[in-house]
Amino acid sequence: MAESVIKTEKLTKRFGDFIAANELTFDVKAGEIFGFLGANGAGKTTAMRMLCGLSIPSSGKATVAGFDVYKHTDEIKRNIGYMSQKFSLYEDLTVAENIRFYAGIYGLSNKEIKDKSEELVHQLGLEGETKKLVRELPLGWKQKLSFSVAIVHQPKIVFMDEPTSGVDPVTRRQFWDLIYAAADKGMTIFVTTHYMDESEYCNRISIMVDGVIRALDTPYNLKKQFSANSMDEVFYGLAREAKRTGD
C-alpha cells in the first residue's frame, strides 16, 4: 500500500454558526489522482484552503506531505504545488521569465533553474516561444505552462482548482496527458472539476454536499453504489439534495 500524502480526520471549518466543512475524514495516497467534486458552495474551496496551509481549521486533524495543517503551514506551502483556474502566471513576463521566477521563488539553484527550464520547455514543445510574453499565448498553452510552473519544485502533491475550464476538447485532453504523466512518476494530484467526464479519469473521487463528504470511492464503485450509468448521474443525484446555495 502506498503511503498517504494527505490524511484528514474530522477536519472542520466554521465561520460563526456556518459550518463550511464538516468533519472531513479521508486520505489520499502517493501517486493517486484524487477528484474532489461538489456543487458551488459545497465547501470544496474551504477544504482545499485548509489543506494548502492557507486557512487554519476550527477542529479536527490533517497532515499534508507529512506536515501538520495547524503548525507547519510554511512547510506545507513549500512542499505542494497549486494551480487555479485564474492563472498565477505573470502576463507581462515571457515564458522563460515565468519559469525562472517560480523556480527561484521555490528556491531552486541557478543550475537547477537552467536545467529545469530546458526540460519544461522541451516537454511542452514551447522551444520557439520562450521569448514570447505569456499574454500572447493561447489559453491552452497558458494552462499547460501554469501546471508546469506549479510543479517546477517537484512537490509531492499538486492541488488543482478547475484547471481545464474553457479550453477545447483536444487541449483539455492534452492537459490530462500531462496530469497522467505526472501521476505516473509518483506525484499526487488533487483536482476539482465541473466536467464529469474528467472525474472518470481520477483513481478515486469524493463528492461534497453541504460541507459533508457524501461519497468517496473509485468511479466504478460509485456508479455501482448509486446504480448509475455515469458519474454525471451520481453527481446529479447527490448534489441536487443540497440545501445550501452559494459560492
Binding site: 461538489g38 456543487a39 458551488n40 458552495g41 483556474q85 493561447p138 489559453l139 478547475e162 475550464s165 474553457g166 479550453v167 477545447d168 476538447p169 483536444v170 487541449t171 485532453r173 490530462w176 496527458d177 497522467y180 501521476a183 505516473d184 465541473h194 466536467y195 464529469m196 467526464d197 472518470e200 479519469y201 468511479p219 466504478y220 455515469s230 458519474m231 454525471d232 453527481f235 446529479y236 448534489a239 441536487r240 443540497a242 446555495t245 452559494g246 459560492d247
Partner: protein, 305 residues
C-alpha cells in the same frame, strides 16, 4: 422566418493581426434554440457583441429581427435581450431593484411581463432584498436571465450562461431555456460544454473564428465518418499510450470511463488483432465495444482535420 442573419461577418483586433471572426455566415430561424459551441477564443463573444450592436463589424453584415446591426442599432437594442458572459448587473442594487431598473429602462414594468420571468423569478424571490453582488453564482445567473427577459425580447442572446456553474445548476438552466423556447422566443446561446449542444435545435461548432460545422446535433453526429470504439482496461494511462502506438490507430483519446479509438481503415474490423496486441502488452480485463459518436467526438475530429 429568419430572426438572425449573418453575411460574411468579420471582426479583427490589434490592427488586423488577430482575426476573431472570420467571414461567418449563418441564419437562425424564429423560435429556434441555436447554439454556438466552441472553446475560449473561438469568437463566440465577438459574434454576440456584433449582433447586439455593442461592437462594429470590420466586414460583412448582420440582420437581427429585420434590422441592420449597424444602421438600426437603436431599434435592435430595444428588441433584444443580452446576458453577457461576465456578470454585468448592478452589484450594489438588490435583486428587485435590478429587475425594476431593467424594466424601466426598456419602458415596461415587472408586472406587465411577469408571466415570462415568473418560473425563474420565484426561485430568487425569497432573496429579493439581497444585493446582487452577494448572490451565489447560480442565483446571479437566474437574476441576469430575468433582467435580459423582462422587456419580452424577440431574440435572446446568452453568452456562456453556464460557464463555471456546477452540473446541477447547468441542467436547471437548460430546462429554463427549453421552457422559454416554447414561448416563441428565439434564443442564441454559446457554451464550451459539448454535452449541452444536444439540447439545441441546431448548433454551429466554431474554432478560431471559423465555423467547422453547422447542423442539427443529430445530423452532425450522423455525418461522423467511420466507426468509433470505446475501450477500457485495468491501466488506463498505459492503455492510452499503447493504443496510440498501435499501427492501425487513427486517433485515440480519453473519454470518461473509456478511451475512444478510431482506426485507419474504416471498413476493417481490427477487434481481434487489437485485443491480441493489448494482451501481449500485458493488459488485463480489456473491454471493447462500438459506440455512437457524441458531439464532442465530432468536434475533436473536425479540430484534427
Amino acid at each position: 422566418m429568419v430572426a438572425v442573419q449573418l453575411n460574411n461577418l468579420s471582426k479583427k483586433y490589434d490592427k488586423g493581426k488577430i482575426v476573431a471572426v472570420d467571414s461567418i455566415s449563418f441564419s437562425v430561424d424564429k423560435g429556434e434554440l441555436f447554439g454556438l459551441i466552441g472553446p475560449d477564443g473561438a469568437g463566440k463573444t465577438s459574434i454576440f457583441r456584433m449582433l447586439t450592436t455593442l461592437l462594429l463589424p470590420d466586414g460583412g453584415s448582420a440582420v437581427v429581427d429585420g434590422y441592420d446591426a449597424v444602421k438600426d442599432y437603436k431599434a435592435i437594442r430595444g428588441r433584444v435581450g443580452y446576458m453577457p458572459g461576465k456578470f454585468s448587473l448592478y452589484q450594489d442594487l438588490t435583486v428587485e431593484e435590478n429587475l425594476n431598473f431593467f424594466a424601466t429602462v426598456f419602458g415596461t414594468t415587472i408586472r406587465e411581463n411577469y408571466e415570462l420571468v415568473k418560473d425563474i423569478y420565484v426561485q430568487i424571490e425569497p432573496f429579493k432584498t439581497r444585493r446582487a453582488g452577494k448572490l451565489s453564482g447560480g442565483m446571479k445567473q437566474k437574476l441576469a436571465l430575468c433582467c435580459a427577459l423582462i422587456h419580452k425580447p424577440s431574440v435572446l442572446f446568452l453568452d456562456e450562461p453556464t460557464t463555471g456553474v456546477d452540473a446541477v445548476s447547468r441542467k436547471e438552466f437548460w430546462e429554463m431555456l427549453k421552457r422559454l423556447k416554447q414561448q416563441g422566443i428565439t434564443i442564441l446561446v454559446s457554451t464550451p460544454y459539448m454535452d449541452e449542444a444536444t439540447i439545441c435545435d441546431r448548433i454551429a461548432l466554431i474554432q478560431s473564428g471559423k465555423i467547422l460545422s453547422i447542423d442539427t446535433p443529430d445530423a452532425i453526429v450522423r455525418s461522423y465518418e467511420g466507426s468509433l470504439f470505446a475501450i477500457k482496461s485495468e491501466g488506463m494511462y498505459k492503455l492510452l499510450n499503447d493504443l496510440r502506438s498501435y499501427e492501425n490507430t487513427l486517433s485515440c483519446f480519453a473519454f470518461g470511463e473509456y478511451h475512444h479509438i478510431a482506426f485507419r481503415d474504416k471498413m476493417k474490423n481490427y477487434s481481434e488483432e487489437l485485443l491480441k496486441y493489448l494482451e501481449n502488452k500485458g493488459h488485463k480485463e480489456v473491454e471493447m465495444m462500438p459506440v455512437i459518436p457524441t458531439i464532442e467526438d465530432c468536434f475533436i475530429k473536425l479540430l484534427k482535420n
